[in-house]
């Protein structure tokens, strides 16, 4: 490759692991990936619940019993957050793709907004659906 021959500028290194931390947009980004992976892994469980809920009045009752279990509720609460975070962060990434809000400050603010909105919606919807 031709670019390999281009002389590289010496860049400053700062790798003090006690000092460096992931900036807010980075946190939103990695949570986007983690929430996406979690949703993928538990997709069969969600499809199973959906199947039960719409198949017959009897299976609907089974579905009700399963989602009534506190542990299942906790998992669904986590999945609700995962969906909402993936949703909000996804919209942010779509806007960034359209070159909206790509400067440092707006990008940081929208990252903060994504975290706040998805958490707030999770609590509101979670409490309502509980």
């Amino acid at each position: 490759m031709s670019e390999a021959s281009v002389a590289r500028k010496a860049r400053p290194k700062f790798l003090d692991l006690r000092e460096i931390r992931l900036p807010l947009p980075g946190i939103v980004s990695i949570l986007h990936r983690i929430s996406g992976a979690g949703l993928f892994l538990l997709l069969p469980f969600l499809l199973y619940l959906f199947d039960l809920s719409v198949s017959s009045p009897e299976t609907f009752a089974t579905y009700k019993a399963i989602v009534g279990h506190p542990l299942v509720k906790l998992i669904l609460f986590g999945l609700l957050w995962a969906y909402l975070h993936h949703f909000c962060a996804g919209i942010r990434f779509l806007l960034l793709d359209l070159h909206k809000g790509i400067e440092l400050e707006p990008a940081r603010q929208s990252a903060r907004l994504v975290l706040i909105v998805s958490l707030t919606l999770t609590v509101i919807l979670g409490v309502w659906l509980w």
Binding site: M1, S2, E3, R33, G36, A37, L39, F40, L43, P44, L47, F50, D51, S53, V54, S55, S56, P57, F60, F87, G90, I91, L94, D97
Partner: protein, 115 residues
């Protein structure tokens, strides 16, 4: 400015675009679904299942699951490509992901058309 040598059949661009197109559709569907579900007069079997048995909503929901499968394929594949370097293992994970997602899409279609 880095001079890049562009090669290949642009599969990357196609998947990148598809991931965003499916994302946009799922955002719209989510809003429609959330509104329809949260305004149900009563959360029982009759009302809940009737929500998906109408022709339009069934079609939109089917399209949602199709979008989800394609979207998840691109996303999960990106995760494997980032973290799994041995080629054989990566290929195996790609295939498992693909089979699972095709299976899930079929399952979703079966659920919707049985209604």
């Amino acid at each position: 400015m880095v001079k890049r040598l562009v090669v290949g059949a642009h599969y990357g661009l196609r998947d990148w675009l598809a991931q965003r197109a499916t994302a946009t559709y799922m955002v719209l569907y989510t809003i429609v679904f959330a509104f329809a579900a949260l305004t149900l007069p009563k959360m029982d079997y009759e009302h809940w299942s009737a929500l998906f048995s109408g022709g339009l909503m069934r079609f939109l929901t089917f399209l949602f699951f199709m979008s989800l499968a394609y979207h998840a394929w691109v996303g999960v594949r990106d995760i494997w490509m980032d973290y799994v370097k041995p080629l054989g293992l990566r290929l195996a994970l790609h295939l498992i992901t693909l089979f699972l997602l095709v299976g899930y899409a079929g399952w979703a279609a079966k659920i919707l058309w049985r209604l």
